[in-house]
């Protein structure tokens, strides 16, 4: 797996995170987010995560517990990466692979635009 080591300015690497609310989650969104943060710390330490309403965020990570992907999106955010159950950006992805896949996609969005 590629190891990300680019060091952009702090403002550029904050990712806002939005959860769906969790009425009937197929995956544990809390556990998943912990794993995403762990993976980011190892693979792309410049990626930071903040609340959904944090101004100046470079990207939006939407985490929904099931494929309905019903989390509300804050206005004015783009681009985004979404997890919806075991779907990443609407493509099937086993739970174990989601953290690395997400970190890779976020890195591409934030640093390679």
């Amino acid at each position: 797996m590629e190891k990300f080591n680019q060091e952009p300015s702090p403002l550029e690497c904050v990712v806002a995170v939005k959860f769906c609310g969790g009425c009937n989650p197929h995956i544990s969104v809390g556990e998943l987010f912990c794993r995403i943060k762990q993976t980011a710390a190892e693979m792309a330490p410049a990626l930071q995560f903040g609340p959904a309403d944090q101004p100046g965020s470079a990207a939006l990570l939407v985490i929904s517990g099931c494929p309905r992907d019903c989390a509300g999106r804050p206005e004015g955010f783009a681009p985004e990466v979404s997890v919806a159950g075991e779907l990443v950006n609407r493509e099937s992805c086993p739970f174990e692979l989601i953290p690395a896949t997400i970190v890779g996609k976020l890195f591409s969005l934030v640093f390679r635009r």
Binding site: V17, K18, F19, C20, G21, G22, C23, N24, V29, G30, P51, A52, C70, A71, G72
Partner: protein, 478 residues
């Protein structure tokens, strides 16, 4: 918005008069009978701050634009109505019990649209008062008990015909400052740990019952208000730990009989006073909003029952048996059925004259009628899977006893790798969630089944269905 802890601390500032087991409670906040229900209600506050749940539990106010707790919100779209149901399921999954706050939530939504329509007819100032009251609730984040159910006395008689006129709550005096009310409200979910109560009439009324057509907001600790806390099946277990099952959140909502003896209400908190012709509309709006809920909250609670049943089967070593899987499928099917009904009546909601949104009344009543059956069936299947031990386990004191505890530990063990205490905990959770008070609440909460049947008959559009049949049968129209 208040946090869960701020909500709990705010209750200590009230002078709520509560009696239970013949005694006046001096510290109800930490009392074992009450505290589980406070903990459950606190989740409605806490989850508005949790990033994982705030998408459902926090929302923007249509009055101030500020971020508020959804329990103080007025629905303004079908999306709002659907999110309400999802929110209730999410909280139910976390508490495994009633969290009580939906009743007042439904009360403010019902009164919001009805006061608008009363004003349209009579030129009264109720809608503006209601908006002011809702602004106050959104700002304070107070918990409001929805107080509709009167004791009702002889059900064959109207309020004004009762031998005791106080068996339905009524206005006994008016002056330039406000009104004085007398009566009682029964089965008051969460009222002892609320800040305020929202009083509404309980049935459609006629002119002779004009004094009973009253809607108003009253602090739960107002002078003249006394709460008498209701018993629950197994409530002495609240003084234990494992035997209580759901130690943190308890069983259902903690209901009380609330007596209001000559309680003064200022005009600013009066939302209906004498407009008897709107009592039926208010009851129907409230009932439909409240019946909408049951596939959400009971869906979440049923999720816990399904999980506990599956865990019990695993601990008993029968998880792979095909009949166990089949029963778990059936429980899941029933859970998703009630949830589907709640989502459906929300998705097919419509705007009212006030601009707020109302659920589809037929489907809301179908939701609740299904709950009166399906939760019993889910509980029956849970009993089937759990086994007779659900009803015969010795107490936790025996499990922990220095002399006989080892016997209980040894002989009530399931599969070798699971500690006996873990099996105890799951089975006690299942036992307490599936019996007695928990089931009766599913039957009668938000109205008894017959009330839903009446509404279904009224909304069922039978003439249209007969016309369909006549046409296909080749019968000429009259």
């Amino acid at each position: 918005m208040r946090t869960g802890q701020e909500y709990i601390e705010s209750l200590r500032e009230l002078n709520t008069v509560i009696y239970a087991f013949g005694e006046k409670l001096s510290d109800f906040v930490d009392h074992p009978l009450i505290r589980p229900h406070i903990n459950a209600a606190a989740q409605t506050y806490e989850m508005a701050f949790d990033p994982e749940s705030e998408d459902l539990v926090a929302v923007s106010s249509h009055l101030s634009g500020k971020k508020i707790n959804r329990f103080t919100h007025i629905h303004h779209s079908t999306d709002d109505l659907v999110k309400k149901v999802k929110m209730l399921r999410a909280i139910g999954q976390r508490t495994g019990s009633c969290f009580q706050r939906c009743v007042g939530f439904d009360g403010i939504n019902a009164l919001y649209s009805v006061t608008y329509e009363i004003d349209q007819k009579y030129g009264t100032p109720y809608f503006q008062r209601m908006k002011d009251y809702i602004s106050h609730l959104q700002e304070s984040d107070n918990m409001v008990a929805g107080s509709m159910t009167d004791p009702k006395g002889d059900r064959s008689l109207k309020p004004s015909e009762q031998a005791d006129p106080d068996l339905f709550l009524r206005v006994v005096a008016k002056n330039e400052d406000g009104i004085i009310i007398r009566g009682a409200k029964a089965h008051q979910t969460g009222i002892v740990n609320s800040h305020e109560m929202l009083i509404m009439p309980t049935i459609a009324l006629e002119e002779a019952d004009r004094d009973y057509a009253v809607a108003c907001a009253v602090p739960v600790d107002a002078p003249g208000v006394t709460h008498i806390f209701g018993r629950q099946t197994n409530d002495e277990r609240k003084y234990s730990s494992i035997d209580q099952g759901n130690t943190c959140y308890g069983v259902v909502g903690g209901e009380a009989l609330t007596v209001l003896h000559d309680v003064f209400v200022p005009w600013a908190r009066v939302f209906m006073c004498g407009e008897y012709d709107f009592a039926g509309m208010l009851v129907e709006r409230f009932a439909c909003y409240h019946r909408q809920n049951y596939g959400g909250c009971k869906g979440g609670v049923s999720d816990v029952m399904v999980g506990a049943s599956a865990a019990a089967a695993e601990m008993n070593g029968v998880a792979r048996a095909s009949h166990i899987k089949d029963k778990l499928v059936e429980m899941t099917h029933l859970t998703e059925t009630v949830f589907s009904c709640s989502v459906a009546c929300s998705a097919l909601g419509r705007p009212t004259l006030s601009g707020s949104y109302f659920v589809d009344p037929l489907l809301a009543n179908v939701t609740k009628l299904n709950v009166t059956r399906h939760i019993y069936e889910i509980a029956r299947l849970a009993h089937d899977i759990g086994g007779g031990i659900l009803a015969t386990m010795p107490s936790e004191k025996d499990l922990k006893h220095p002399e006989i505890g080892s016997y209980v530990e040894k002989y009530l063990k399931g599969t070798a790798l699971v500690p006996t205490e873990d099996r105890y905990r799951i089975l006690r959770l299942l036992e307490n969630m599936t019996g007695g008070t928990a089931l009766v609440e599913s039957m009668h909460g938000a109205g008894s089944p017959q009330a839903q049947r009446v509404m279904i008959l009224r909304q069922g559009n039978l003439p249209h269905k007969m016309k369909l049949a006549r046409k296909l049968a080749g019968i000429k129209p009259d």
